[in-house]
Amino acid sequence: MQPHSRHFKANAEAALREPNLQAALKQLELGFVAGRQRCYETLPEFESLRDRAKEILDHTLDNLDAYLLEYEARVVESGGKLHWASTPDEAREIVIRICRDAEAKTVIRGKSMVGEEIGINDALEAAGFEVTETDLGEYILQLAKEPPSHIVAPAIHKTKDEISDLFLAHHRHLGFTHRQTERSALVNEARQVLREKFLTADVGMTGANFLIAETGSNVIVTNEGNGDLTSTLPRVQIVTAAIDKVVPTLEDASLLLRLLGRSATGQEITAYTTFTTGPRRERDADGPNEYHVVLIDNHRSEMLGSEMRPMLRCIRCGACMNHCPVYGRIGGHAYGWVYPGPMGSVLTPLMLGLDEAGHLPNACTLNGRCETVCPVKIPLPTLLRKLRSRQHLQRQNSSLARVALSLWTWVALRPRLYQMLTWPAMSLLSRLGAKSGGFRHMPLASGWTRVRDLPAPQGSTFQARWQQQQRARK
C-alpha cells in the first residue's frame, strides 16, 4: 500500500473525531488488555518465560545465518522450495512467478503482516490473479479497500453496521440479498462465501508466526482455521516470511507460543496452532503438491547490524499497541502504513525511512507501558528515543524543534542561568495554580491547554530538592 505516515498529524486529528473508532478502541482495553492481565496474574512463570524468550531470540539472531541455512536444508529435504528476497520488489516477483508457473488463476490468503509489508495483494491483482483474503477481518478490509488498523485484529475499527453494508454490496450477486444485522449471521455469510473460495483456489498463501530450523516447518496461529484451510486445500502453498521468524527448535517455538497468545488476545493457546512441513508426502491423503517459502529481508539485516537489533525479537503479538495510550486514542490507520503502535513507530521509519515516517517516533509519551508488556522485552521507548536522536543528527526534524532544542541545551548546560530563568516562572505558576491545581488556559501553551489542563507545579523544583539532599548528606 501507498504509505501516508507523513500525514500522521492530520490522520491523528481525524481519528480523534471518529466516534466508531473511539468506541472500538475503548473496547480494546476491556478485551485484549484485561485478557492479557488475567493471563499474567494466573501464570507465575510469566516473567521467567519472558527472560528465556529474550535469550532464545538473542541467541538465534547472533547465529541467524547458520540457523537460516539449517532451516533451508530442512525445507529442501522435505520437498519444499526456498526463495530468498532482499526487497519487497523481489519478493513480489518471486510470488508472481510461482503463481504463473503453476498456471494459477485464483489465490487465497491467510493473514500475513509481511504479505501486507510487501503489498502482495495489489501486485497479484495487477498481474491478473484473483486474490481473496480469508481471515474474516482481512476479508472485511479487502471489501472496504482499507489497510489493517491492528496487527492481530485488523478490522477492529469497523462496526457491525458497516460490515452489514459491505456484505450486502459485495455478496448480492452471489445470492445473499438480505442485509444481515446479527453478528452470527454475518460470520455465517462470510463462511459460506469464503468456503467456495477455499475449495476452488489454486494457490494458498500464508505467513509464518515462526519458522523452525530443526524441521523446516512454518507455524501459523489462528482461531478461525482459515490459515489451515489455506495451507491444506489449494494445490500450491506459498509461505511469505521474514528472516527474523526463524527459531532453532520445536521446544523454542513452544516457549514462544506460551507467550504469544497470552500477550496478544489473553488466550493460553489459540484454537489452532499448525506446523506445516513441505508439500504433501507421497502417500498423504491431501495437501498441496508444491510448497514454497519466500524468505524476505527488507531492511532486517540492516537492523541486525545497528542499535535497532532488539526489534528483530518482535513476535507480532500487538500487546504494545493494546497498551499504548497514543494508539488507544488514534487507532492504527493514523500511523499511515502496515505496522501501527509502538512496534510500528520503530519499524516503519526503518523500512520506509525517516523522511516518510519521521512523525512516528515522536508520537510517543515515553510512558514505557509497551516495554513493560512486551513478551520478548524489546526496549521500545529506548529505540524510539534513538530514532529521535537519529532524526536530530540527520537534521530531519523541524527547524523550530532544532532551534528550540539548541536553545534549551545551551541554557540547561548553565545551571545558574537555568535556575534564574525557570525559578520565577515556576514559583508564579505554583502560586497561581495552588487552589485549582492546574490551568485551563495558558498563553504560549495553547497547543497543550486546548485539549487538556496544564497541571500546576507541585512543591519545590528538582534543583532545589537536589541541593537540599546534597546538603543533608554532608
Binding site: 480494546l28 478485551g31 501464570l43 512463570e45 518465560l49 528465556r52 532464545i56 541467524l64 545465518d65 547458520a66 541455512l69 539449517e70 522435505s78 526463495h83 530468498w84 528476497a85 532482499s86 523481489e90 481471515d135 474474516l136 478490522a155 469497523k158 457491525k160 453478528r183 452470527s184 460470520v187 455465517n188 462470510a190 463462511r191 469464503l194 477455499f198 524441521t215 478461525e224 482455521g225 482459515n226 489451515d228 484451510l229 528472516i243 532453532p248 527448535t249 521446544e251 513452544s254 516457549l255 493457546i269 484454537a271 489452532y272 496452532t273 499448525t274 506446523f275 506445516t276 512441513t277 508439500p279 508426502r281 502417500r283 491423503a285 491431501d286 495437501g287 529481508d297 541486525l304 547490524g305
Partner: protein
C-alpha cells in the same frame, strides 16, 4: 536467485561483524538443535485428565470420558442425536475406528473431506493436558481436511495418549515419525473469530462444534 541468497547471508554476516561461522561453531549449533533442550514448563497441580477436560470445555468444546473403546459407537450416536446431526461420517482411515461394531444407522466413509460433509470422526495422535489441546497429524489415512471442513468434528483419544505438555508431544512425534508429518495440527476448541466488533462467534471457517471422546 542464488545471488540474492548470498547477498542476504552476506548482509547478515557483516551486520554481525563476522564472516561465515567456522565448522566447529556450526557443529555446536547443530548439536544444540539435536539436543533441543526444554525450557521453563509452567507447573499445574490438577490431575491431567481433569485439566484437559476443563480447558477444552472452557474453549466451548464438549467432552465425554468412556471406559472402553466399543462404547465409542454409542457415544457417537448419542452425540449426533443430541445435536440432530446427520449420521454420515467421514473418518480418518484408522483401522481400530473401522473395526468397531457400527450400527447400520451410521454410515462411515474413510475419505478426504470435500467441503459439504457435516460430520467427521478422527483419532488424535495425542492430547495435551496443559492447554486442553488435541494433536492431529496428516498421513496416508489421515486427511487434514477432516479437521477443518465439516461442521462437527469428533475426535477420539485414548487415555494413555494424554500427555502433559506440548514438549511431550514433540518427543512423541520424534519417536513415532522419522520426519515431521506434513501437517501437525494442534486443536484447542472449535473455530472462532472476534473480528466483528471484538465479540467471539463460533464456526468462522472450521468446525462449529468439537466433541472430544477420551477412552480408558
Amino acid at each position: 536467485m542464488s545471488d540474492t541468497r548470498e547477498q542476504v547471508l552476506g548482509n547478515i554476516r557483516s551486520a554481525l561483524g563476522r564472516g561465515e561461522l567456522d565448522k566447529a561453531r556450526v557443529a555446536e549449533l547443530r548439536d544444540h538443535i539435536a539436543r533441543h533442550p526444554r525450557h521453563i514448563e509452567p507447573a499445574f497441580n490438577e490431575p491431567p485428565q481433569q485439566r484437559f477436560q476443563q480447558k477444552l470445555e472452557a474453549a466451548e468444546a464438549s467432552f465425554a470420558a468412556l471406559d472402553t473403546l466399543p462404547e465409542v459407537v454409542a457415544e457417537v450416536e448419542r452425540y449426533l442425536d443430541a445435536c440432530a446431526a446427520p449420521k454420515h461420517l467421514v473418518t480418518s482411515g484408522d483401522e481400530w475406528l473401522a473395526a468397531l461394531q457400527w450400527p447400520e444407522s451410521i454410515e462411515l466413509r474413510p475419505w478426504v473431506a470435500k467441503g459439504d460433509e457435516k460430520v467427521s470422526l478422527t483419532a488424535a495422535h495425542c492430547g495435551i493436558a496443559e492447554t486442553g489441546t488435541l494433536l492431529l497429524v496428516s498421513g496416508e489415512h489421515k486427511p487434514t481436511s477432516l479437521n477443518f471442513l465439516p461442521d462437527y468434528h469428533i475426535v477420539v483419544l485414548r487415555a494413555d495418549q494424554l500427555l502433559l505438555r506440548m514438549e511431550d508431544a514433540w518427543d512423541s512425534l520424534r519417536t513415532s515419525f522419522a520426519q515431521m508429518p506434513r501437517s501437525v495440527n494442534f486443536i484447542s476448541g472449535p473455530s472462532k473469530t472476534a473480528d466483528v466488533e471484538q465479540t467471539v462467534e463460533y464456526g468462522a471457517h472450521g468446525p462449529r462444534y468439537l466433541h472430544v471422546i477420551l477412552v480408558g
